[in-house]
Symmetry: C2
Subunit: 309 residues, 2 copies
């Protein structure tokens, strides 16, 4: 059940209508690891930070079972920093500042001990770096999941993105990105076109409107939990991905039925993430709370109808 | 299982990115009746038309089992007419023309044979007219469902709307209207506030993002079917309401579990409605198709997770 996670470990500076977080720990790989760690105890991290990153935050990840041999620490350099401000409805945000810092020259080196990982989660990153990671593996993983964003769909990067898409199994993407990548407004049509680019499974995330899982002619829908208050949406997509791949790695079952469960678990994890700033909620979470949340999803969509036909 | 339906029977003139319908039969009560008629054969219509309305369209409703004794035909007057044009994403539309005609002086008279109806569906209409109908009933119905719109939430009408809300059981409303009526962005909070206005059950329709059913602390979510193409959204909300109340009237069961089924059936009916202009798709539909569509909803959301706790 070894799970290789690649992505950013970084600082975020978030402002929402409910307050300012200040400079806090963030990054796609951070959220993925925290979320996946509830399901898998053999997580191998590939990322990069500067010497400004607090060592106790690395220790916290290690205590969660995350191997940090592949986490490069660049002396005399600064960690990736992103600052953003959410609009009143929390559905859109403005980027106030992006400082690439260590990310500008990041070359992801996969340690030997990681090279036979069975499951791979490629967090949002430059497509060429995602490819670099796949190129270093000794064996074909059971499942490779990739997350990406609209930025890599521009003319400059689209060919690199298509190269990595042709080598992965599951793509997680949000609705607007799916439309951009496919040129189709209908998400059903968008998924069909994205299938032809490589991914056998496509998860289209619709934020507060839930997520769709497509595979061949099958489609599964998981709602987002209706919450009284969404406090901070940062990292929700990565937390979803972490729960998804964590469950798959734990169960080693890549059937469509098990992917459905993984989507529900990812959605449950994401519903916790948005309740507080940053990774705070994920840090203090326990398994009983997760089970109770999954039960809420069951209650939310369960119905029984007797069909005559 | 007698079902009283009140609402407009009218002409629509619709333009979507896929074409122009021309002047076709529409109106909230028309969609409600066509949809409910698949489940209930004892439907009593209260509405008004001018003498320009084709008699064969009335016959079609009668053949579906709709009693039209309460359908007033105003000689020398014209039927209600609405013309609208949908934007490219079909989520918004511009009203090009509204001609109230017979609706301007409509006084809904409930025939004696209707006055003990067990189920009542008040389609979108001036709140005072919806109240007028309730005032004429001899017995308290088992369930009263009301649909309304943002127009009746303005200062001029809000007190009338609140009066009728205090006398109904189920409110169907879309997400933006729920936010307007409650002053809350969160739909969970909005439903709580709307509860205090009277309705014990609140259905918040989110168009392509599905529908939420709230009752006390319970919440149920039904997705919209992911379709390759939405052709014409006109009447989808009314078709949903017709399927919902039709199933309730057929089963005479107003438990939360049965309301969940009714929401799924309403969603299935709405998914047919949007596939063609106007009522066309509903006219040619059969029960086997409906059952197959409900099965698609089951497949779309069904999953099984074994919880340890």
């Amino acid at each position: 059940m070894s799970l290789l996670v690649v992505g950013t470990v970084a600082f975020d500076d978030i402002e929402t209508p409910f307050g300012k977080a200040g400079k806090i720990v963030g990054g796609a790989a951070t959220y993925i690891c925290y979320s996946a760690a509830f399901f898998s105890r053999d997580i191998k991290l590939v990322s990069v930070i500067g010497d400004d990153f607090p060592m106790n935050e690395i220790k916290k990840l290690q205590i969660k079972g995350v191997n940090t041999e592949g986490l490069q620490i660049k002396q005399g350099e600064k960690s990736f920093y992103w600052s953003g401000c959410y609009h009143a409805d929390l559905n859109s945000r403005d980027t106030l500042d992006t400082q690439l810092n260590v990310l500008a020259t990041f070359d992801p080196i996969v340690p030997d001990a990681y090279k036979n990982s069975e499951f791979v989660m490629l967090g949002n990153l430059t497509p060429t770096l995602q490819l670099r990671v796949l190129d270093q593996l000794n064996t074909q993983p059971i499942l490779v999941v990739l997350d990406t964003m609209n930025f890599w769909m521009s003319e400059e990067f689209i060919n690199d993105l298509k190269k990595v898409l042709s080598r992965i199994d599951v793509l997680t993407i949000n609705d607007e990105e799916a439309r951009l990548l496919s040129g189709q407004h209908s998400l059903v049509k968008a998924a069909k076109i994205i299938h032809t680019l490589g991914p056998k499974f496509i998860i289209i995330k619709k934020g507060e409107h839930g997520a769709l899982l497509f595979h061949d002619h099958q489609v599964f829908f998981a709602p987002a939990l209706p919450l009284e208050e969404v406090f901070d949406p940062t990292g929700a997509g990565d937390t979803f991905a972490g729960g998804f791949i964590g469950h798959i790695a734990k169960t080693r079952d890549i059937s469509f039925d098990n992917m459905k469960r993984a989507v529900i678990i990812g959605s449950a994890m994401a519903s916790f993430c948005v309740e507080q700033f940053g990774i705070r909620c994920l840090e203090s979470l326990n398994e009983t709370q997760i089970e109770a949340r999954v039960q809420q999803f069951i209650d939310l969509v369960q119905f029984d109808i007797e069909l005559i036909a």
